[in-house]
Symmetry: none
Subunit: 239 residues, 2 copies
C-alpha cells in the first residue's frame, strides 16, 4: 500500500480536501464531516492518517469533534484572531503592573447613566472605580481605568496592588467567562494627556475590555502612551 512518497503528505491532502469542501460551501457550518473511517477509505489511507488530519483541523478551529457522535464543520468564529487578543491584553495589562504605579482613584461611587447602561446596572447602584497610572521610571507607560461590579469582587478596594496586580486579583476571584475587546487608535482627553505627560494630538493605543463573570460586567480601559519604547513588538521563529 502507499507508503511515504511524501510529495506531499497524505494527511495533508485529506486536510486540504476537507478545507476545500468547507470553503467552497459544499460543507456548511454544523454539517457532518465524513468520519475517520470513511475518509480513510476515500483516500486509501489508514484510519490513523485520517485521524491526524482531523485532529489538526480541530486544533486549527475548522471543525469540531465529539466522541461517539462525529465530526462537524465549526461555526465561523467571531474573528478568529480575537481569541488571541485576550492574551495580548493580559500581557499589556501585566506589563504595566510590573513597574511602579500611582493610584489616582480607588473608591466606591454612584454609577453614571452611561456606565449603568454599559454594565447592565440600575442608576441607584454603586460601583468600584479605580484609575492607576503605570510608570517605567519617570515615563508614564499606561493609564488604566476600571469599573467593577461590587458583586464580582467585593473586596477589590481593600487589595494591596503592590502585592498583586488588579488583573491577577480579578482573575482569581472572578473567572472571566466572556469578554469583548476593542483595540483602536485614539486621541485622548486633556486629563489623560496630563497624567501621561503627552502633547495633544499624540495618538495613543487604546485597549477597551468588557468582561462578563456570571452576568456581572466589569470594564477596563487601558491607554498606552506613544513612544518607541512602548511599541508592541517582537520576533518569532518558525520551522
Amino acid at each position: 500500500m502507499a507508503r511515504s512518497e511524501q510529495p506531499f503528505a497524505l494527511y495533508d491532502k485529506i486536510k486540504k480536501s476537507v478545507v476545500r469542501d468547507i470553503e467552497s460551501g459544499k460543507l456548511k457550518p454544523d454539517d457532518r464531516v465524513p468520519s475517520e473511517t470513511q475518509l480513510a477509505k476515500m483516500f486509501n489511507a489508514s484510519r490513523m492518517t485520517a485521524n491526524r488530519a482531523l485532529k489538526e483541523l480541530t486544533e486549527e478551529g475548522r471543525i469540531v469533534r465529539a466522541q461517539g457522535v462525529g465530526t462537524f464543520v465549526a461555526r465561523p468564529k467571531p474573528g478568529a484572531a480575537l481569541l488571541e487578543i485576550k492574551s495580548i491584553a493580559k500581557e499589556i495589562a501585566d506589563w504595566g503592573g510590573m513597574h511602579s504605579s500611582q493610584i489616582l482613584v480607588l473608591k466606591e461611587e454612584k454609577v453614571t447613566e452611561k456606565i449603568a447602561q454599559k454594565m447592565n446596572l440600575k442608576p441607584s447602584d454603586t460601583i468600584f472605580h479605580s484609575i492607576i497610572v503605570h510608570k517605567d521610571g519617570d515615563i508614564c507607560v499606561q493609564y488604566s481605568e476600571r469599573f467593577i461590579n461590587p458583586k464580582v469582587a467585593p473586596h477589590y478596594l481593600e487589595q494591596d496592588f503592590k502585592k498583586i496586580t488588579p488583573s491577577d486579583y480579578l482573575l482569581e476571584v472572578a473567572p472571566v467567562q466572556e469578554a469583548e475587546h476593542i483595540i483602536e487608535a485614539v486621541n485622548c482627553n486633556r486629563e489623560i494627556q496630563k497624567y501621561l505627560k503627552i502633547q495633544p494630538n499624540e495618538p495613543c493605543l487604546s485597549l477597551k475590555r468588557r468582561t462578563w463573570s456570571f452576568d456581572m460586567v466589569a470594564t477596563h480601559s487601558i491607554i498606552i502612551s506613544p513612544g518607541s519604547r512602548y511599541k508592541l513588538m517582537g520576533k518569532f521563529m518558525r520551522g
Copy 2:
C-alpha cells in the same frame, strides 16, 4: 503492554515530564531532549506515542525539532503574545483583501537609502513596491504598502491580486521564517490621509511587519482607518 487505561493519556504524561524538566531548569534552552526512541523506552510507550508528545510540544513552542538531528529545548520567546500577533496580522491583511481594492503603485524601483538599510540591500539594487488601498464600499478601510526583495518573489508584479491576495501569494512562494511586528497608533502623512479620506490628526492603527525568508527581507506597512466599523473587536467564550 500498557493499553488505554486513560486517566490520563500516556502521551500527556510524557509531555508533562518534558515540560517539568524544562521548567525546573534540568533542561536548559538549546539542550538536547531525549529522542523519541529513548522517551518510548523510558515510559514503556511506543515510538508513536512519544512522537505525539513531542509533536504537540513543538506546536506549543516549547521545543524545536530538526529531522536527522534531534529535539532541543526552544529558546524563550520574546513575549509569548507576539507569536499570536502574527495571525492577527494575517487576519487584518486578509480582511482588507476580501473587499474591493484599488492598486496605486505596482512597480519595480530603485531602493532609497532608508529602505536599503532596513532590508539589507545595496543602494544599486531594485525592489518591488506596491501600494494598495482596500475599500469596503465607499469607505477606505486600509492602506497597505509593501517593499519586496525581487529575489523572494520574482513574479510578484505579474500577479492578479483580484484572484489571490498579496499575503496569500507571498506565503505560497516564500515561507516566512522570521518576522517582526510593531503595532502602534500614528498620525499619518498627508498623502495617506488623502487616500484614506480622513482628517489630519485622526489617529490610525499602524501595523508594520518585517518578514525574513532565507535572509531576504520584505516589509509591509498597514494603516487602518479610524472609525467604529474598523475596530478590531469581538467576543470569546471559555470553558
